[in-house]
């Protein structure tokens, strides 16, 4: 596995590996003009195009209700229990259209989602949760992966047989992350993995995510409310508003623009003034949206 991947579209060496990718695109995941409805009536996602290069960490940002979770659910193929449908556009993974695939085929092809709010099987033990994460792999691979997860999160070792519903928020996030990694996904999608966690745990989670990308070559699509933190580790960022991607750029350039920071990311460069400006910022955004 190589280190930090190059960003150039044509020069990504990963595209010529054994994965059999088409030579025209270096993207592992490519969404083109995706449009998503709930109940055939609510247009939650209007027009989203985004591309995630192999081995990169891409941040998907935006305010509450922008449609980030909906996009991740669409990629994982789990919109149907909520009567959601992809009405337009294409979702390609590894050069294949996955929009019509069953969720288990999508997992088997290498995409795993850590859902919003962790969503552990709270009546199952930690180990049973992890075993479920390895459901699509062979028993032997799952046993190996299990040891790898305990190495990665030593705190879980002593809690193997605890019912996961009783763990602390931080431990639960480790289980959620570990569970997702059991099948060794090519693309790991994380929906607000730091929600409600203490700063120290957040740091730990982020360094784990960075290590996965930089050392193991995993590709990550990260949805985060904490935009500054997400952009500090990301290779590229997309900003969604009202079901659309309104901006995409490198983190450096997104962070350099004060207006972007303020309107879309919810913080100003002068971090100290952030709290005082919260109210004003909220009002301005509302005006912007109406």
């Amino acid at each position: 596995m190589s280190g930090a991947p190059p960003r150039g579209r044509e020069t990504d060496p990963a595209s010529t590996t054994a994965e059999g990718m088409t030579a025209t695109s270096s993207a592992l995941l490519e969404l083109t003009n995706v449009q998503i409805f709930y109940d055939k009536a609510i247009e939650a996602v209007r027009d989203v195009s985004l591309s995630v290069k192999k081995g990169s960490l891409v941040a998907l940002l935006g305010a509450n209700g922008a449609g980030k979770t909906t996009v991740l659910k669409a990629i994982s193929g789990i919109l149907f229990p909520e009567d959601g449908t992809v009405e337009g556009g294409t979702i390609e993974f590894d050069g294949k259209n996955i929009a019509a695939m069953e969720p288990d085929e999508i997992v088997r092809s290498g995409i795993v989602l850590v859902p919003e709010g962790r969503q552990l099987f709270d009546t199952l033990t930690v180990e049973e949760n992890l075993i479920m994460g390895g459901y699509t792999t062979t028993q032997r691979n799952a046993a190996e992966a299990l040891e790898r997860i305990y190495d990665m999160f030593p705190a879980l070792t002593g809690r193997r047989h605890s019912v996961s519903g009783y763990l602390s928020g931080g431990e639960q996030q480790m289980v959620a992350l570990g569970r997702a990694l059991m099948s060794k996904p090519k693309l790991l999608m994380l929906d607000e993995p730091t929600l409600g966690l203490a700063p120290q745990i957040i740091e730990e989670i982020f360094s784990t995510i960075s290590a996965l990308v930089r050392e193991e070559g995993t590709t990550v699509l990260l949805v985060e409310q904490n935009a500054q933190l997400a952009l500090s580790v990301a290779d590229y960022g997309y900003i969604m508003e009202n079901g659309r991607v309104v901006l995409d750029d490198t983190p450096e350039r997104l962070l350099r623009n004060d207006d972007i920071c303020e309107f879309y990311l919810g913080f100003s460069d002068a971090g100290a003034r952030k709290n005082m400006r919260d109210v004003k910022h909220y009002k301005r955004r509302k005006r912007w949206l109406s």
Partner: protein
């Protein structure tokens, strides 16, 4: 005291059969959220097919059990495929209605293909009454009780150690998240129906070999229903245990009060228990599903 003990022991023997059937109810409810009102009829169908088999081939008892397992599995898979699978995604209530229709259908089918007269279900088990310290039992009753114990132990380890067993608990806990693990819900449903029909069939064959085989055997389903409610409809082992309680309570009521109250007493017990624990003795307070 001897009379009391006699009632308790024979109550346990009947209770074992209730328990086995109740486990079948719980199995389907746990995995799919549906109360299968055709449980007694599936039991009847498997028992009749097994009966026909014994009239065609001279079968030793040790072969009758695996034969019943095969028949039960095939019946369960066919029923699931024809009647239940098309209902996936429909409201649970509609599926429950389908099982009620299925019950009527199977009952008519059995009378049509066989007849409505009692048949002696001959097994190679001896009919000699055994006396163990003053308590008189038929060998088939003892076999029934041992089968009950074996099934309880088998299901305990199935849900604890087998991947598909853990997956069943995961589906019962959070169905959408189970999809994210790559678990095929349809598989889990089919396995639940197959297992449930297998144990219903075993109960049917045991019951028919203790008494006789005629269409009223389908009432065993409804008779065992209080056991499932008592133990907690979503707890397979709890339901199995509930069977013993109901069996003993019914027998004591019949022995000390009046035979007429016998079948009512089970329902009285569940009403009393449900007032204190609305989800049964061993059930989970709530199950989340989509």
């Amino acid at each position: 005291m001897d009379y009391f003990l006699d009632l308790v022991i024979s109550g346990l023997m009947v209770g074992a059969l209730y328990g086995i059937i109740a486990m079948g109810f719980a199995m389907i409810y746990k995995a799919t959220g549906v109360v299968n009102f055709a449980q007694g009829e599936v039991l009847m169908l498997v028992a009749y097919i097994a009966y026909t088999l014994t009239t065609l081939i001279d079968m030793p008892f040790w072969l009758l059990i695996p034969a019943t397992i095969m028949i039960g599995m095939i019946v369960g898979l066919i029923v699931e495929f024809l009647f239940i699978r098309p209902m996936i995604g429909e409201p649970v209530f509609a599926t429950v209605m389908v099982t009620i229709g299925l019950a009527v259908f199977i009952r008519s089918l059995v009378v049509l293909l066989w007849d409505a007269f009692p048949h002696e279900f001959v097994t190679s088990l001896s009919e000699q009454v055994i006396e163990i310290s003053g308590i008189r039992l038929y060998p088939s009753q003892i076999v029934a009780f041992i089968t009950y114990l074996v099934l309880m132990a088998a299901f305990w380890s199935f849900f604890r150690y087998s991947r598909i067993g853990i997956a069943m608990r995961a589906v019962a806990n959070k169905e959408t998240v189970a999809l994210l693990m790559g678990i095929r819900i349809k598989h889990v449903y089919a396995v639940a129906w197959a297992l449930s029909s297998i144990i219903a069939g075993i109960a049917g064959v045991l019951f028919a070999s203790i008494y006789d085989l005629d269409p009223t055997i389908s009432a065993m389903g409804l008779n065992a229903f209080p056991a499932a409610i008592l133990g907690g409809l979503d707890s397979v082992l709890g339901s199995g245990f509930g069977g013993l309680i109901i069996g003993v309570v019914e027998n004591l009521t019949g022995g000390y009060l009046s035979t007429g109250l016998k079948s009512v007493s089970g329902f009285v017990v569940i009403i009393l228990v449900l007032m204190v624990r609305p989800y049964g003795l061993f059930g989970e307070p709530e199950i989340e599903r989509v």
